[in-house]
């Protein structure tokens, strides 16, 4: 991380913490902000947050590791979270999962090499009446079909002008 970036991160964390009077109840919003902006919560960010809330870095690590939407490793620009809970599973989650893996060229838990997409499973998205459902960052997609998977991915690629992710190699 560049020094200027680190200073920026530090300023943001301390400014947000001040809004919560440096009380620990402000920790989650700070971590959510860092996750959103930097796509992960780095060791620096955790230590800085610990300082801003007068707690130990390891406590922040404990919190970050508890919540599935917070991460200590860098994530892609877009995190695709496919619901794997029962109702979506019954409407064909497995097929969508396969198509996502094929179209992105990665497996679940991985991030594309260009850093654009991370593919993850998630538990119930509350779209059980219109599954399969998936979440791309803050946007929800329901009744996803294998065909629409490509469209969804394509729309994000186009939106941000990124190169098309590499084709999955066939052996």
């Amino acid at each position: 991380m560049l020094a200027s970036e680190r200073d920026q991160l530090k300023t943001e964390i301390w400014e947000m913490a001040r809004k919560y009077d440096h009380h620990r109840s402000g920790l989650m919003p700070v971590l959510q902000h860092v996750q959103r902006k930097y796509r992960y919560i780095s060791p620096e960010a955790m230590q800085e947050s610990a300082g801003a809330f007068h707690i130990h870095p390891v406590e922040v690590y404990g919190v970050v590791s508890f919540y599935s939407f917070l991460s200590t490793k860098p994530k892609g620009k877009f995190i695709i979270r496919l619901c794997r809970t029962i109702s979506c599973e019954m409407t064909g989650k497995a097929v969508i999962a396969r198509q996502l893996e094929n179209d992105l060229g990665i497996t679940f838990g991985e991030t594309t090499k260009d850093g654009m997409f991370t593919l993850e499973y998630t538990n119930c998205l509350g779209m059980c009446d219109s599954g399969p459902a998936l979440l791309v960052n803050d946007e929800i997609y329901t009744e996803v079909t294998p065909e629409s998977v490509a469209d969804i991915i394509e729309s994000y690629v186009r939106k941000f002008g990124a190169s098309v992710t590499e084709e999955k190699k066939h052996e």
Partner: protein, 398 residues
């Protein structure tokens, strides 16, 4: 933000009302009258645990403290539950007014909506509605012209943890901790957020309370059963013709529901989500009510072709991941059950061990620290009880 795809019926909750007029009317009443009305209605918490709302509010109202909190549990994470999604998007003002009234009745000035991280796409809409209410003096200082009554609402986001739907875990999360449930007692009504008296209610509970205070406890009690008054929202998904959110009076039988939603051939129904239980065909005459099959409103229908062991596996995988990992029976018990399912899949489970696992289920139910662990084995137990023959006679082709 109308959620047009979701099928629904009209009811006493799911209908348009003049929220502001009700709020203004109710705020003219005495706190005691409000508490009495809610208590008289026998309204029970709509999140699933079924604690008397009137009693909860009264306890918090009695507690002496400089600060009290009203928390709306919008961490709707129970698999198969999505009614709050509809309420949060289409009945936002009713929720905000319900919370405001709770604040007035209890003597709290702060309200917090704990919105699950998965529902982040709603947050702008909710913020808009809150802003609108501040502009109309329906939130903030001297609400609706009532001098000295202050109530503020903020929204806080979860970050993907099912267990934070448990009220004390939710409070822990708000306090910047790992979402690990607390020991109870003390209960949040006496020692909750920041150690202050706190009312934690489900989205639907606040809205239902608003309706009760509009039309009265007697009106509300006309619906439902003696012990389970009123109507309830049900989130219905799975193998049925018309999945969606439905409002039914409590006490309705499973069979009636199935007829309504077009699932006459259902083999089983999971009532109450992953933490609920699997109801088989021979129990379809049972009623959905706190005294019979208690539920937060999730109904998942399984058609005749469904592999029930796979269903059990899905639920156990869910709990293995979502257990907070704090107490022994839940953390390792779920894992043992999951391993048991694997043995059953490989057709390598002795009857003795299966019975041991069912005994473990009972231990988990009575020794786990919170509701999650206590209800985690329900699905395993009920599926193995109802479909033991199907599961034990699986052929190797699977």
């Amino acid at each position: 933000m109308n959620d047009k795809k979701t099928a629904r019926n009209e009811g006493i909750i799911l209908r348009e009302i003049d929220v502001d007029a009700i709020l203004i009317k109710v705020l003219k009443e005495d706190r005691e009258d409000i508490l009495r009305e809610v208590t008289d209605s026998k309204l029970k918490g709509r999140g699933g645990a079924g604690f008397s709302t009137g009693r909860k509010w009264s306890l918090a109202a009695e507690a002496r403290s400089d600060q009290k909190y009203i928390i709306c549990n919008a961490d709707e994470g129970e698999p198969g539950t999505f009614k709050d999604r509809v309420l949060l998007t289409d009945y936002t003002d009713a929720l905000l007014a319900g919370m405001t009234i709770a604040g007035y009745a209890v003597g709290a000035e702060s309200g917090i909506i704990y919105l699950r991280g998965e529902y982040v796409y709603m947050i702008d809409h909710i913020h808009d509605r809150i802003k609108n209410r501040y502009e109309n003096k329906l939130l903030g200082d001297n609400i609706a012209g009532k001098k000295g009554f202050v109530f503020n609402i903020t929204v806080r986001l979860g970050s993907g943890a099912y267990v934070c739907g448990e009220e004390t875990a939710l409070i822990e999360s708000l306090e910047g901790q790992r979402g690990e449930p607390r020991n109870r007692p003390p209960f949040p009504v006496t020692c909750g957020f920041m150690g202050k008296p706190t009312v934690v209610n489900n989205v639907e509970t606040f809205i239902t309370a608003l309706h009760i205070l509009d039309k009265g406890a007697e009106w509300f009690k006309k619906f439902g059963t003696d012990k389970s008054t009123g109507t309830k929202l049900f989130s219905i998904s799975g193998d049925c013709a018309k999945p969606g959110v439905y409002e039914f009076p409590l006490g309705i039988t499973v069979k009636e529901v199935l007829t309504h939603i077009g699932a006459r051939d259902a083999k089983a129904v999971q009532v109450g989500g992953a933490s609920g239980r699997c109801v088989a065909h021979d129990e379809f005459e049972s009623t959905l009510a706190f005294e019979d099959i208690s539920t937060g409103g999730s109904i998942i229908v399984f058609g005749p072709h469904r592999d029930m062991l796979a269903v059990a596996r899905n639920f156990m995988e869910f709990f293995a991941e979502e257990s907070c990992g704090q107490c022994t029976p839940c953390r390792y018990g779920v894992e043992a059950l999951l391993e048991g399912i694997e043995m059953l899949e490989q057709r390598k489970c002795s009857m003795k061990y299966l019975n041991e696992l069912l005994g473990l289920c009972e231990t988990m139910q009575v020794t786990s620290k919170c509701g999650l662990g206590q209800s985690a084995p329900n699905a395993f137990m009920s599926i193995l009880k109802n479909f033991k023959h199907e599961i034990l006679s699986r052929d190797s082709a699977r």
